[in-house]
Symmetry: C2
Subunit: 160 residues, 2 copies
């Protein structure tokens, strides 16, 4: 078992923000946020979480690993559907509590609902919350059938 990645809690602000050493700041659940964008189009595909082990495996292998809060376990993107993510570039943010991966998305999509991106609905600007806020579908068509892709029944909102 490799050493775990040291945490930002041990570093000064200067060390965390201007340093050259990865010291991720995990939240109270031991997670950091991960944003995945398509290396070709720049489109935002999904937002999910990584624990220390998912982060370590992603860095070591170049395949995207996440931690599913709903399933409470480590998860390699594509392990059920076959639609994995090869990480081309990886960035960390200023306070080291969020990671950005630019990926090659394998197959027709990243979203467990059967769409390319999880962000298939727009919130129109200028609405007040006095009534319900109505969403507009954008590229909302399904690119694959999640019932087929996730035969093992794991297509339950894994990004949560």
């Amino acid at each position: 078992m490799p050493d775990p990645i040291p945490s930002a809690s041990s570093g000064s602000t200067e060390h965390v923000e201007e340093g050259r050493v990865l010291v991720p700041k995990f939240d109270t659940e031991g997670l950091i946020t991960c944003v995945a964008t398509d290396i070709g189009t720049g489109e935002l595909l999904m937002v999910a979480h990584m624990d220390g082990e998912a982060l370590r495996r992603t860095i070591a292998t170049g395949e995207a690993w996440y931690y599913s809060r709903s399933r409470k376990r480590l998860w390699r993107k594509g392990e059920s559907s076959g639609y994995g993510q090869r990480v081309i570039e990886m960035r960390i943010d200023c306070d080291q509590d969020a990671v950005w991966i630019k990926v090659e998305q394998t197959g027709p999509g990243a979203c467990h609902t059967g769409r390319r991106s999880c962000f298939y609905r727009a919130i129109p600007i200028g609405q007040s919350a006095a009534g319900a806020i109505v969403l507009e579908f954008r590229n909302g068509g399904k690119t694959f059938d999640p019932q087929v892709a996730y035969r093992d029944g794991t297509n339950s909102s894994p990004t949560s």
Copy 2:
């Protein structure tokens, strides 16, 4: 005071994922993740959080509002620095626990460290965590002086 936006906790999975009504799923701290990208370049500028009121104000006004966990308060992007974000398009993800805003960033940058984007360091792929993981600066040059922009001393990692 307008009505608060109803939460996803009251909706079925079908309602949340395929519906046309905004029912955001706030975490145990009452927050959802917000990813801000540059409308022109597609670059990821920052990842921060919104509470219900920040979400409501952003939707109503088209100006980006966030909730700062470190300062424990609502915060309009640019209120200290003058470098705000005009929201051109807003999306919600499948399980409604993350928001994507495409913004026009005012001024030289979004990051409290004085850079255009918070994601100015790369994590090279293929490193094992046996030793320290060494970061590489990318577009790491400062585009403004945070000591001048944040004269009120609020430049302490507001995205946390």
